[in-house]
Symmetry: D3
Subunit: 69 residues, 6 copies
C-alpha cells in the first residue's frame, strides 16, 4: 500500500461526531497529540471506523501551512 | 494567536529544498515523526525559516484523509 | 507573525452561521468585496471571533483557481 | 456562468513566472491588494493568460483560513 | 471559458442533499462512474442546479491523490 | 482498503514528468477521459509508479468544484 502523499501517520480514533452532511473524527497520534479529520457522513459509513480503531492519517504536503510565530 | 484550523503541531525544520517555483520543507514533530510542507519559494523567503527553527504546523481538518488498511 | 502562504488579507467579520459540524463566516475585505470561510464549529469556538472583529484571511496560492471567461 | 464557490473576485494578471512543472501568477485585485495563484504550466498554457489580462479568481470557502492575531 | 485546472469532466447531477451549512451533490460522469462534490448550501443556491442538469466538474491536479494498492 | 473520500476511480498511468520539487502524472480513466495529479517527486519515488501501471485515484468531495456554463 503506497500513497502519493508525504505525510502519513497512524492514528487511533477517539471520537466520531456525525452532522447532517459532514462529520468530524478525532484521533490520537503518537506523542499525545490530537488530530481531526472532516469528511462526509457517507465516507464515514463506508470507512466503517469507530472509537478505538487504528487508521492511516494521510495529508498531502501542499496542504500543510507553516507559521512562524 | 488563534487559527481556524483543528490541527496544530509544533515542528522543527530539518531541511529546506528550493526548486524553481515550489520548495519542500521537512520537519520533525514530537514522537520522532516527520512531516513535509510544500509552498512557493516566495513564501519560504517571507517566512525566513531555516534548519533548526521551530514553526507552527497548521492543517485544516478537511484536508486530512483517513484510510483503513 | 509570518505565514507560509502567498495570499493574506485583512477582513472584518460580518456574520457567523453555525451548523452542526461546520460553520460559515462572512467577511468584508477592502474595496467592498466579500469573502467566505468554512471551518468546524470547534475551530470557530477556539478562534472566538464575532461580528465586527478583524481577522487575517490566509489562502495558499495552490488553492486559488483562475478562470478566463 | 456560475461557480460552486463562495469567493469570486476579478483580478488583473501582473506577472507570470514559469517553472518546470508549476508556475506562479500574480494578480492585482481591487483596493491595491495582490493575490497569487499556483497551477501547472500546462494549465497556464491552456488558459492562455498574459500580463494585463483580466481573470476570475475563484476560491472555495473551505480553503480560506482565518487567523486572529 | 478556460479553467486553470487540469481535470475537467462533464457530469450529470443525480442527487442534491442539503444540510445546514454544507450540501452534497452526486453526479454521473461518463463510463458509469459517480462523483461527489461538497459545497456550501449558499453556493448551491447560486449555482441553481438540480437533478438532471449538466455541470462542469473541475478539480485541480494538486488535489488528486494517487494510491498504489 | 477503505478511503475517507467520496471519489475513487481506477486510472492507468500514461506519463510521468518530473520537475525539481513537483512532478505531474497523467492517467487514463474509463471512457477515454484524462486526469492529472501533481505531487512531490519524493512521493512519486515512494509510489514507484511508471507508465502502464494501474493506480487508485482518490479525491475528497470538498475539492470538487462544480461550474454551470
Amino acid at each position: 500500500m503506497k500513497y502519493g502523499a508525504r505525510n502519513q501517520l497512524i492514528g487511533k480514533v477517539t471520537s466520531v461526531k456525525k452532522g447532517d452532511i459532514m462529520c468530524q473524527i478525532k484521533l490520537d497520534i503518537p506523542a499525545a497529540s490530537v488530530m481531526n479529520s472532516v469528511m462526509t457522513v457517507e465516507s464515514l459509513d463506508d470507512l466503517g471506523i469507530k472509537e478505538g480503531d487504528s487508521v492511516k492519517v494521510v495529508v498531502k504536503a501542499i496542504n500543510v501551512l507553516l507559521v512562524r510565530e
